[in-house]
Amino acid sequence: MSEPRNSSVSLPVVAICAWLIPGGGYFVIGQRARAIVAGAAIVALFLGGILVGGIRIMDPPGWGQYGYMAEMVQRFDRRRQQPEAAYTRVEPASKDEARHPDENDGDHVAGPALFLQPTTELGEKPWYVGQILCGPITLLASAISVNAAHPAAGATTETWPSSHSRSWEIGALYTSVAGMLNLLVIIDAAHRAGLHKQWKSEA
């Protein structure tokens, strides 16, 4: 079965479409069967990971255990009457703490840890690099996960605790591999779009 190809789409558009929707890159260059099969396999693997490990396997960098953004706080040393040199990473455990991460007077909130030390935050959760390659579906699942982590009113634990051990590992593995496979598909879709442009220019 030879598939029609659409040559009017530029490489960046193909790559962006391929990231936005798994298989979308093939779709815009006219290879619909390839788009559906590859996209369905990637999305199924991604959802399979969430099914095995629960939604909390989506653990975006910069967010803490309770689903609030971690903040960098410069504590005020009362004994020396001066701010501490090092910043402390604070993970709020409630909405109130998220609003006021500076526990004591004199503490200075420098900002979200994700913006101030992005490499450290990402380095602590490297599997998210693979997961994010799946596109906006990862962002949506992360948003749901973060909301599911918020403690219910009056509770001190997460509404949906994260899984542990093999459940978590296999869930994270499935979703990360789905993202890596999507990277493969993104590269191939862009390559095929480029090849067709090359053939057209030679003709």
């Binding site: 598939e3 099969v37 396999a41 199924a44 099914l51 490990g53 629960g54 939604i55 591999v177």
Partner: protein, 80 residues
Amino acid sequence: MIPMFLSYAIFFDPLPIWVKPWFWPLLLLPLCLAVAVVYKCVRCNDMDSVPREATGLFITIVLGMAVTAAALAGLAALMG
């Protein structure tokens, strides 16, 4: 076990796969299948050949994993 399943929320709670120890190795199969299908989608120019090629690759990966596991188990038994 019944109350656990009654309170189970799909996609929010982890799948209770720990209740059956033999279930763990089966989780290899969806991963191998997805890798085989996507890889063959990328490699094959003709989409009609993808099902056959992907099935072959899937079986190869699973057999390769099984042989590797058996060899490692044998090695561990020899050393243990």
